[in-house]
């Protein structure tokens, strides 16, 4: 009977396998470079149009202006671009417009009704994310057109924000905010904080020497001005009658055509200041001329008082 020992046969198989693998490894090493088949893959990433959405003007709140200055108003929006936000914020463009509805989104820049900016104030574009929130901040002038309610300049209209995006391939997207109202602002500015008559003798007056108080319309509505003395000229226990001070809208020689000051507010006749349309303040400034007649028997001393200029909105 033939002796059968399986071990040598198994060893033979193992050795054979190692030999074949070694040959394969040598062949790979020697002929590797030449034997490699290079497969080129070409993927063209197409352009995806950007999208702007969620445009919010002034946080969804009524716009209230600041006298004689600009007011910061934000336009917030969300930008989505499958190619990443850099496609818009670095390689493309963002144009934001804040406008009164009557002039439309394609308006020409004008401080009364149309503000255009080609930059963003803040954007959260990091890591080329596909969705980014951004804001653009505008400075609205104090004379921007009012739209809030029947008493405003443009009662049937409203303010709106529009954002236009373009990416590197000039694909565009536009969106608008919900309507917001801009409130009526009535305000005045006076170029001086006091009127000083200097030294005037008792039973004498300022004659043809007038003091001036220049009033400027610092809002977006027409206004009249009312004046009165909060406290008449007083020096200790001594005082002068309120009517000692007089005013006029043109220069005068005391008392001339002037009007005597009163303790209750009186509208200055002929002084209606229309709403400004530019920052040229001198165009909208009106001067009141002031004089003083010191009554007889007035004691010597330094007299001080307070006069109030009150603005009153005019339709």
């Amino acid at each position: 009977m033939e002796e059968t020992n399986p071990l040598p046969k198994l060893s033979l198989y193992i050795l054979g396998s190692i030999f074949v693998l070694t040959l394969f490894a040598i062949a790979q090493t020697v002929f590797g470079a030449g034997g490699t088949v290079n497969v080129s893959s070409l993927v063209v990433v197409g352009n995806s149009a950007p999208t702007v959405s969620n445009v919010v003007l002034n946080g969804g709140s009524l716009i209230t202006l600041i006298t004689n200055a600009t007011t910061a108003i934000t336009v917030g929006y969300t930008v989505t671009d499958a190619n990443g936000c850099n496609d818009v914020f670095q390689s493309g463009s963002v144009t934001s417009t804040v406008f009164r509805s009557g002039v439309g989104a394609a308006c020409t820049a004008n401080n009364a009704n149309c503000y255009i900016l080609h930059t963003t104030t803040t954007n959260a574009c990091t890591g080329n994310a596909s969705t980014t929130n951004a804001t653009t901040t505008f400075g609205l002038y104090y004379f921007a057109d009012s739209t809030n309610g029947a008493s405003s300049s443009y009662a049937a209209q409203y303010w709106e924000a529009s954002v236009l995006l373009a990416d590197a391939s000039s694909a565009t997207s536009t969106a608008s905010s919900t309507n917001q109202e801009l409130d009526v602002l009535n305000a005045i500015d006076i170029t001086t904080s006091s009127i000083n008559y200097g030294t005037v003798s008792a039973n004498a007056n300022t004659g043809g020497t007038n003091q001036y108080a220049t009033t400027t319309n610092a809002g977006n509505s027409s206004t009249t001005v009312r004046v009165h003395a909060i406290s008449t000229l007083t020096s200790g226990a001594n005082s002068m009658a309120t009517s000692s001070q007089v005013y006029s809208t043109s220069s005068f020689t005391y008392a001339g055509t002037s009007t005597a000051l009163t303790d209750t507010a009186v509208t200055i006749s002929g002084l209606l200041m229309t709403a400004p349309t530019s920052t040229a303040t001198t165009t909208y400034a009106r001067t009141t001329f002031w004089g003083l007649g010191v009554p007889p028997s007035t004691a010597t001393g330094s007299y001080t008082g307070t006069t109030r200029f009150t603005s009153l909105w005019q339709p």
Partner: protein, 313 residues
């Protein structure tokens, strides 16, 4: 002979001292601030008996370098004077650095008020520091016009519709700012919400809502959140949503935008997370049924035990 208002001392040294202080007093302060109000009127022309009306008037100035004391003078007839309240009081101070100062005016029309038109004015005047011989103060007069009638007046504005970011598994949520300028309560009648994928190509779900909208009282503005349950699990990612609110057939507010679904716990505390996981808002009938069933089993077992005890006895 009558003396001068300013007598000149003969001593030169004394004269110099007086002259110095006089000049300091007489030189006008050039940094004078403009002053006004927005809006510069209060026109409540659709009031009814018992109405409560609130208006904010902003006192505004350009130069806020210093605090500015303000005094309010009310020129109102005796009949309507008790109706008008200034929340800030009749004297207050605009703080340093504040250029827009809100003053809240409340009008409480008594239920016994007579129908009619009433008018008056409130004047807000600055109380500046003494600046020379005649210090100039600025003021603003606010005309007040009230009409008490019986008409129904409706005027609503939806100022803001915003699709909020939510957590995984939540229903889509929409934030709304609703302004009711009318004299009757108002609310939405219905709303639709469409949910899309991140490319807005595929619509995943649509939700319609016809109730559970908050009622907004007359002459008030309210901000609230509306949930739109959808039969679709919102996993982490970005989605487009499109929401439209209606009064009758009229669209009164809408928004279409992208929003984020974030991982659990990003926006809420653990308690809210747990409650959200339970989905009580949509699954409450099942929970109720479960509780009733458990209670039934409990009672049945108790009764069984009792009858066994009686049997043993």
């Amino acid at each position: 002979m009558l003396g001068n208002l300013f007598s000149v001392p003969r001593q030169p040294f004394l004269f110099l001292i007086i002259a110095f202080f006089s000049v300091a007093l007489l030189v006008p302060n050039i940094s004078f601030a403009a002053f006004g109000a927005s809006p510069p009127f209060l026109n409540a022309t659709h009031l009814v008996k018992g109405a409560k009306y609130r208006q904010v008037i902003y006192l505004v100035r350009d130069n806020a370098d210093e605090a500015l004391p303000i005094k309010a003078d009310l020129a109102l007839s005796e009949r309507i004077r008790p109706w008008v309240t200034l929340l800030q009081g009749n004297t207050f101070t605009i703080p340093q650095g504040t250029r827009q100062f809100p003053v809240e005016i409340l009008i409480n029309v008594p239920p016994t008020a007579n129908l009619g038109v009433y008018s008056g004015a409130i004047t807000f005047g600055s109380q500046p520091q003494e600046a020379g011989q005649v210090t100039l103060s600025l003021g603003i007069e606010i005309p007040i016009n009230l009409t008490i009638g019986t008409d129904i007046y409706r005027d609503i504005k939806v100022r803001l519709v915003k699709l909020l970011d939510i957590e995984e598994g939540w229903s889509p949520r929409v934030y709304v700012k609703f302004e009711n300028n009318g004299n009757v309560p108002e609310k939405f009648d219905s709303a639709t919400y469409e949910l899309f994928d991140s490319f807005k190509d595929k619509r995943f779900a649509i939700s319609q809502k016809r109730n559970d909208f908050p009622e907004i009282a007359p002459f008030t503005t309210q901000e609230f959140t509306v949930d739109f349950p959808v039969d679709f699990h919102l996993g982490i990612g970005q989605y487009w949503g499109s929401v439209t609110f209606y009064q009758g057939e009229t669209v009164v507010g809408s928004q279409t935008t992208i929003f984020n679904v974030l991982k659990r716990g990003s926006l809420s505390n653990p308690v809210n997370q747990f409650l959200s996981l339970l989905k009580l808002d949509s699954l409450w009938p099942y929970y109720l049924l479960g509780i009733v069933a458990l209670l039934g089993i409990f009672l049945w077992r108790k009764r069984l035990q009792k009858s066994r005890k009686i049997g043993q006895v």
